[in-house]
């Protein structure tokens, strides 16, 4: 990281540096402590998938409890031991399951797993760099993430079970070790794991940002970057600015837990005993948490948006519609996401005045989102659509984002949120938009760039099977939840048997659970497809999807520094698909305009007047010739 000399030659110097690193390759330096961004990307992906599967199994476990609240499953006792005495998950452990499920899915799968994988894989490849700005910190970033994952999972081994205060760990519940079993060592481990995780994502983030800023190849100006890069770039910035605030909140929480301070605590009597806390405010934590928390949810969705845009453009053989609008809407979402966090706190005792303000800012976010949605639709319009599995998942992402986003409009309305807050309506909302849309974006990325990562193709048919089962499954799981929410069924409830009014939802719950199990089984198809294709998939060609972006100009066999010779220069934007007058229906970014005179448009030379003149000359001569004939 500490090589460089004179500023101006930063890039150049970096390259030969990039090579120095990888002379003699041992197994350790190639597969374990690798500093090659492509390998690190794979590490992130595989860890991410593992965590995803674990979190999914957790969700199935607590779904079973919700579906059969008063039945006993001896197997659970066999699997979970003390957490499920005589065949039933205990109330506290149910909350642990939900909490860890949420935490893993949001942070470990969709933050590290998603950004980590695709930022590492795509940024250097698509902007034309030899490697990340600092391969070393990149490696550290992965290993911190790995450590965090291990610690998070290890909390299942402590006596009183993992953290169980919900993934939002509101104090006092999370601050008072005696308030519930999960707030003991489990919560401590959660906090430690989270600090490591933030360190990891910070190291990753600054790396991505400086790579995109500094290491673009010749000609790759900001308006020639693929939307994936834009999305990942802005995501990284979001992370850099949002996570530190969580750190502050967590630090104060740790002190409250272990050093007798009272930042978040006041006037507390825990089962009859006065606690000596005065003057703190639980609301303070909620502000600090959601100042991260809301940007976090966009950290989760924006890479998925970028990936889907790219995949949809490639597979409908059509330029993405309104490239500039897409970029500006991404920027808009990035900025807005920092001023809406209060919409999670409408009824938590926040000043109602602020509630009104946050409601306005929140609903504004729908506008850039609308632009994106409609642009996606316009991209499909009169396209020539190829249904690769990746394409299907990208489309699924759009469908889910619309459904989930629209429910967000209800929640964003403070007045309506009074009755919807913390009901299953919220659960439905964020599963559609995050648990489904973002996951589908990630899966689209996996199917699309698998050839780039592993040099082999995944099996299409299994991909189709996986998609339809998951797509239908997810809708079946999450659509009915809205109506439970509208009936005022609260979330984080261990059983709906205690309330007469909720018992009639039991059949629906059973149905949801089986739909979830179905969707979960569908993941077997994915996992089998994924693993087997790594070893026995059919070999990939260099540019299997006939795509324009730079990564497909690299050889199938990975090599450090990505390109054997010079890094190619970029001449055009990444979306010249089905350009009239071109013989192929795609023109890679590296093809100079002079080779495609017949297909050039004045629009291509907006910032190159000389070029425009030449083009006009050329066209006029063409016309002249025609007249001669």
């Amino acid at each position: 990281m500490s090589t460089l000399a004179v500023h101006d030659h930063g890039v150049a110097h970096h390259d030969d540096h990039g090579h120095e690193h990888h002379h003699n390759e041992t197994f350790l330096s190639k597969y374990v402590f690798s500093m090659d961004h492509k390998m690190i990307a794979k590490q992130f992906l595989i860890t991410g998938i593992t965590m995803a599967v674990i979190a999914m199994i957790l969700s199935i476990l607590f779904r079973i409890q919700l579906a059969y609240p008063d039945k006993s499953f001896p197997l659970l006792t066999t699997l979970l031991g003390r957490f499920a005495p005589n065949g039933r998950i205990s109330a506290d452990f149910y909350l642990s399951l939900v909490t860890i499920h949420g935490t893993i899915m949001v942070f470990f799968v969709l933050t590290a797993g998603l950004s980590g994988t695709f930022a590492n894989l795509l940024i250097p490849l698509q902007v034309g760099a030899r490697d990340m700005a600092s391969p070393f910190m990149n490696m550290l970033s992965y290993w911190f993430f790995f450590l965090a994952s291990v610690i998070m999972l290890s909390s299942f081994l402590v006596q009183k079970g993992p953290a169980s205060g919900g993934w939002t760990i509101y104090p006092p519940l999370s601050a008072l070790p005696k308030a519930m079993p999960g707030s003991g060592e489990g919560m401590t481990l959660w906090l430690i794991s989270m600090v490591l995780f933030v360190a990891s994502s910070l190291m990753g983030g600054i790396n991505y940002v400086s790579t995109v800023l500094n290491m673009r190849t010749k000609g790759m100006d900001l308006w020639k970057m693929p939307l994936t890069i834009w999305a990942l770039f802005l995501t990284a910035i979001l992370g850099i600015l949002a996570f530190p605030v969580l750190v502050a909140g967590v630090v104060l929480l740790i002190f409250d837990r272990s050093f007798g301070t009272s930042f978040y605590l006041s006037d507390i009597v825990l089962n009859g005993v006065q606690q000596p806390y005065e003057g703190g405010s639980p609301i303070l934590f909620q502000h600090l948490f959601w100042f991260l928390g809301h940007p976090e949810v966009y950290i989760v969705i924006m890479p998925a948006m970028g990936i889907s845009s790219e995949v949809m453009s490639v597979n409908s053989r059509k330029p993405i519609f309104g490239y500039h609008a897409m970029v500006y809407s991404l920027i808009g979402i990035t900025v807005l996401s920092f001023i809406v966090w209060g919409h999670h706190m409408f009824v938590t005792g926040m000043n109602p005045f602020l509630g009104g303000v946050f409601m306005i800012t929140t609903l504004i976010i729908a506008v850039p989102s609308a632009v994106k949605t409609f642009n996606w639709l316009a991209t499909l319009w009169r396209g020539n659509i190829r249904f690769t599995p990746a394409m299907l998942f990208a489309i699924g992402m759009v469908s889910f984002f619309i459904s989930g986003g629209l429910t967000g409009i209800f929640l964003g309305n403070a007045a309506l949120d009074i009755n919807l807050h913390d009901t299953y309506f919220v659960v439905a909302h964020f599963h559609l938009v995050m648990g489904s849309a973002a996951i589908f974006g990630m899966l689209a990325g996996v199917y699309h760039w698998f050839p780039k990562m592993f040099g082999r193709m995944m099996d299409d048919k299994l991909g189709y099977l996986h998609f339809w089962l998951t797509f239908i499954g997810a809708y079946l799981v999450f659509f009915p939840m809205h109506f439970m929410g509208l009936d005022g069924v609260p979330r984080r409830y261990y059983a709906f048997t205690e309330f007469v009014s909720m018992q009639r939802w039991l059949t629906v719950n059973t149905f949801i659970t089986w739909a979830a199990i179905m969707a979960a089984c569908a993941q077997v198809a994915f996992l089998y497809n994924f693993i087997s294709s790594i070893f026995i998939g059919k070999k990939a060609t260099q540019n299997p999807w006939e795509s324009n972006t730079l990564e497909w100009t690299t050889p199938v066999e990975h090599l450090h520094g990505n390109w054997p010779g010079e890094i190619p220069t970029v001449y055009r934007w990444p979306y010249d698909y089905s350009k009239p007058g071109a013989e192929e229906d795609f023109i890679p970014q590296t093809v100079p305009f002079s080779q495609t005179m017949s297909s050039n448009l004045p629009h291509d030379f907006e910032d190159n007047p000389k070029g425009l003149e030449e083009l006009n000359k050329f066209t006029s001569t063409l016309k002249a010739n025609e007249q001669v004939k």
Binding site: I57, I64, Y68, D70, S72, P74, L75, L76, T77, T78, N86, G87, A91, L95, G166, Y170, L173, L176, A179, R257, S266, D267, I268, N271, P276, E278, P282, R317, H324, G349, G355, M359, I364, A370, N375, L377, G383, R386, F387, I402, L406, F410, A414, A415, L416, H421, D422, D459, Y464, F483, D487, E498, V508, C521, V524, Y528, S532, Y577, S578, D585
Partner: protein
């Protein structure tokens, strides 16, 4: 072609077992149901492994089925190719499935709206609740239009513009006018929603008693793990102050009895509310955050330790009326706890009865004062002793 390996692959076997171990439970549930109901005996009931095996078998069969179908398709595909035909066009197949999904999905959504939609909350039983419900209808209409239009377009395009060798996609990078349109259109829709919503919110959250109308009834509701405590004002209509340092066995809420106003406060177990009288809930929590959630009145506000909050509303439908409306003689309004607060979070309810003014007064007169005889005795010595605990070493108590 993956399917053969799909069946006889070891990696897969392990996955299947892993997943099926989860899928198995239903059957055992039936076999073990008695054990479950008689859940009290310490030793865990035995796992019925035949049940597990049964489900494993089932999954195998499914995989087999999938594999066979795959094979058949493959062979069919080959025969077509041998006959020099194009072979099976998966792309078209997918396009068709998309269309099918659209139609099925639309029907499914409709079904869900009608059937499950009818299971949702009855009409709002409070003044502001009605406003919220209007708000809700407007939002639903607008968003559902968007929902159906966009989804139909999405899947319609998928089918309509599926790949074909003859066509080329229409090169259309951008079109500023239409982009402006669909930036501004949602902006307008949202402005409507924002303005409408903003004023609704303001009116609901404005907790000051308007001049002229009588002051609203003050009721203290205090959450703790895992129950709600209620305190009503006595004749003076005022609630005495509280201090968590004064909490003791008999004085659960730490009411401060140095003040006169606390002497006639009442302790009640069911929340009775007079219909059409404005009520002001003063919301407290003793240990962790809870949330007073009364969905039928569209009322919710968190109970935060150290930060008293309050919510003002006016019930409009008596319990009786609501029972007849829903013709469910056992119907009760309820307070739920709607903020995760520990193991008992899922069962922290309190019955709310909305009654006529007369009934209310009658009921009120029957309630016992908070200041029980036992508490009287206790107070003489306890009052002093209690306040000390406040300033002990914090670490000791913390963990």
């Amino acid at each position: 072609m993956g399917f053969r390996k799909f069946i006889n692959s070891k990696t897969l076997l392990s996955f299947i077992t892993a997943f099926m171990l989860l899928g198995t439970n239903l059957l055992m549930a039936q076999t073990e149901a008695p054990a479950g109901t008689a859940a009290g005996q310490p030793e865990a009931p035995q796992v019925d492994w035949t049940g597990v095996g049964y489900y494993l078998l089932l999954f195998f069969l499914v995989c087999l089925g999938v594999a066979v179908v795959g094979k058949i398709l493959k062979i069919y595909d080959l025969t077509l190719r041998i006959q020099g035909k194009k072979g099976l066009k998966w792309n078209t197949v997918m396009a068709v499935i998309c269309l099918v999904f659209l139609l099925a999905g639309l029907y499914g959504a409709y079904w869900s709206f009608t059937v499950q939609g009818s299971m949702t909350l009855p009409e709002a039983a409070s003044v502001h609740g009605v406003k919220i419900d209007e708000m809700f209808t407007v939002t639903t209409v607008l968003t559902m239009i968007v929902f159906f239009v966009t989804q139909i377009l999405l899947f319609g395009f998928l089918f309509g513009y599926r790949h074909s060798e003859k066509r080329r996609a229409h090169f259309l990078p951008h079109n500023n006018t239409i982009e402006k349109v669909w930036t501004i259109a949602p902006a307008i829709v949202l402005t409507i929603l924002v303005v409408f919503g903003f004023f609704t919110w303001q009116t609901i959250m404005d907790n000051t008693d308007a001049k002229g109308q009588p002051a609203s009834i003050n009721i203290d509701i205090t959450g703790h793990q895992f129950a709600w405590e209620l305190r009503y004002p006595g004749k003076d209509g005022r609630l005495g102050p509280k201090d968590f340092r004064m909490i003791s066995g008999a004085n659960k809420l730490g009411v401060n009895f140095k003040k006169k106003s606390s002497f006639d406060d009442l302790q009640v177990d069911t929340m009775y509310l007079p219909v059409n009288k404005s009520v002001r809930l003063n919301i407290f929590a003793l240990d962790v955050i809870h949330s007073v959630y009364m969905p039928h009145f569209r009322v919710q506000l968190n109970a935060v330790p150290g930060l008293p909050t309050y919510f003002k509303f006016t019930p409009t439908i008596t319990t009786e009326k609501m029972r007849s409306k829903l013709d469910d003689p056992k119907f009760e309004y309820l307070v739920y706890c709607n903020k995760i607060c520990g193991g008992g979070h899922y069962n922290m309810q309190k019955v709310v009865r909305v009654v006529t003014e007369a009934e209310y007064q009658a009921w009120l007169s029957r309630q016992k004062p908070y200041l029980t005889d036992q508490l009287r005795k206790e107070l003489h010595f306890a009052a002093a002793g209690q306040s000390q605990t406040g300033s002990q070493n914090r670490l000791a108590l913390n963990n």
